[in-house]
């Protein structure tokens, strides 16, 4: 495992006239991230996503638990192997894009022609090579994000930790960033993404974790998550006013969406067959069985609603 997080807990303390107040940002979170994969971290604002990233990067200090990256506790030396894009990168306002990449490249140990080549290649890949002589204050939000991504990729790190990498980027830009990330994954890099854009995470991630109020609500492969919640709608010829009591008792998830449509979450094909057999036995005429496509957003919304309850 490239990243191992075990029972990680983080508290923030604030002081006011009311006294000392502690807030638990992360509560016993455990995660394992495989090398060469794209891992998506999801959660509402304040769920603890950025806190988790800051703990991984050594920017914040844990209360308890363990973090191992490349098999070691995060330290200054390990950052040579990590590229990081913060949620709101703030660049030195008076420098141009080229100067900024020179600075971060040098701090990462690159020099001379190697650094120049890396800057050229990375900015060409992210389509900002024409803007390197522009002062960074003249950059659009999307260009700043791409510059942020460029500085994270510059030293060819094995692990990229990206906090909202496509925030403020237009749809075409988002597509090109997705392509870059997929290319990096194919090149053997491990990518950890925190994003609000669920469709994007679904498109590129191998595994995702969903955080809610500092707790890990669910973790697994994207394919397994969207498969675990298969929903069917069944169109009937007969019009119904209410569901048969015996049927409701046997299939508690079964709902009457309208007088001729039943909806039900089904765990597997066996359960679907059983439901259909029961409906036929009860003299219902089935016109159509439609499998509703469940995406990551549906899974996420459902989890969030459950966590609020």
């Amino acid at each position: 495992m490239l990243i191992q997080v075990e029972q990680l807990t983080k508290d923030y303390t604030s002081y006011s006239l009311k006294g000392r107040q502690a807030f638990r940002a992360l509560d016993n979170v455990s995660l394992n991230i495989q090398a060469g994969s794209i891992f998506g971290l999801l959660g509402q604002n304040g769920a603890g996503k950025t806190t988790l990233i800051k703990l991984l990067m050594g920017l914040a200090y844990k209360k308890s638990g363990n973090i191992l990256i490349f098999g070691k506790e995060p330290d200054t030396d390990i950052r040579k192997r990590i590229g990081y894009l913060p949620e709101n990168p703030s660049f030195p306002a008076h420098l141009n894009g080229g100067d900024i990449l020179q600075l971060y490249g040098k701090l990462s140990g690159l020099t001379g022609s190697v650094l120049e080549k890396k800057i050229q290649d990375t900015t060409a890949m992210l389509a900002i090579n024409d803007a390197l002589n522009k002062v960074v204050t003249a950059y659009s939000k999307g260009m700043k994000q791409r510059l942020g991504l460029a500085q994270a990729m510059l030293h060819d790190p094995e692990l990229l930790i990206l906090d909202e990498p496509t925030d403020g980027v237009d749809p075409l830009g988002r597509k090109s960033i997705r392509e870059v990330l997929t290319f990096l994954k194919e090149a053997g890099k491990t990518i950890f993404i925190n994003s609000h854009i669920l469709s994007e995470v679904e498109m590129i991630s191998d595994r995702v974790a969903i955080l809610g109020k500092g707790k890990l609500l669910q973790e697994g492969s994207v394919a397994a998550m969207v498969r675990s919640d298969i929903e069917y709608s069944i169109l009937l010829e007969n019009s119904l006013e209410r569901l048969d009591d015996a049927l409701s008792a046997e299939f508690p998830e079964l709902k009457l969406a309208n007088p001729i449509t039943l909806e039900c979450q089904i765990k597997d094909s066996g359960e679907l067959n059983r439901l259909l057999s029961r409906l036929i036995a009860l003299n219902y005429t089935i016109l159509e069985v439609h499998r509703k496509k469940v995406n990551l957003e549906d899974v996420y919304v459902k989890l969030m609603q459950e966590s609020i309850k």
């Binding site: 920017l59 200090y61 990168p89 703030s90 030195p92 100067d99 600075l103 040098k106 701090l107």
Partner: protein, 265 residues
């Protein structure tokens, strides 16, 4: 050490792209031109010139020293204000979270980060003082053919003053989580001497005022009074303050690093 050098280089490079630094150079040039055109040399005690200085009974060298000291005493306050504006966003903004994150996720220790930014800010301030000093040295030399190097005491004292301000700003920024508040409060060290005088009339707070004055350097004098005295060859008043400033700088930088090492970014 290499990382610190990169940070110093970057701090200077970034500062030199700021308009405020060029505004400073223009203002220094204008001030030097004023000195050039308004200072006249007389052999009597005439009071007609704006900055008329009498050579009566003094040597040319003594005259040059006197003129230089007057310029430093007169322009020191203005200079410190210019330093404030030209370095306002250089050192204190190191605590800007978005910017600090990008630095601290490199193979760079927090101590190196603090020292690199601190030294970058101080070197920038020292260079601005040096520009002013070279200007005065040149103007006095060209105008009166006296090449008096005593003006170069000014960057020495000004640098110590700036170190003290930045060191104070570091600790206050850490405690308040506000870099700008840190710098403003640190600059308020200028107000300590008059505050001490005012508070001394109240017996209850007099010991406290004296204790603060003994622990906090009188930074205002490092930009005018002390270098002006040093140019005249008088060091008595500044030696104790140099010692206080030295201790103040070391303690404050150490405390800044200690807090920063434990702080969540």
């Amino acid at each position: 050490m290499n990382q610190i050098a990169i940070l110093i280089n970057y701090t200077l490079k970034e500062a030199l792209k700021r308009k405020i630094v060029y505004a400073y150079l223009v203002l220094v040039s204008l001030s030097l031109l004023i000195i050039y055109f308004t200072t006249t040399l007389t052999t009597g005690n005439s009071q007609n010139g704006v900055a008329e200085i009498s050579l009566h009974g003094t040597s040319m060298q003594a005259f040059a020293t006197m003129l230089t000291a007057k310029v430093v005493a007169g322009f020191g306050g203005f200079f410190s204000l210019m330093v404030f504006f030209s370095t306002l966003t250089v050192f204190p903004l190191l605590f800007n979270k978005g910017e600090a994150e990008l630095f601290l996720t490199r193979p760079l220790s927090r101590t190196s980060f603090i020292l690199g930014r601190f030294m970058g800010g101080v070197i920038l301030g020292m260079l601005t003082a040096l520009v002013f000093s070279v200007g005065v040295f040149t103007i006095v030399g060209v105008r009166f053919s006296i090449w008096d190097a005593s003006i170069f005491m000014f960057p020495v004292y000004a640098t110590v003053g700036m170190c003290a301000i930045f060191a104070g700003a570091g600790v206050i920024s850490m405690l308040t989580n506000s870099p700008v508040a840190g710098l403003i409060l640190s600059y308020s060290m200028f107000l300590l001497p008059p505050a001490k005088e005012m508070l001394s009339v109240f017996p209850a707070v007099k010991p406290f005022a004296q204790a603060v004055a003994a622990l906090v350097p009188n930074t205002g004098l490092f930009f005018s009074g002390f270098p002006a005295d040093a140019i005249r060859g008088v060091y008595d008043s500044s030696m104790q303050q140099l010692l206080i400033a030295g201790l103040f700088i070391i303690i404050n930088i150490a405390v800044t690093i200690l807090i920063f090492e434990k702080k969540d970014i």
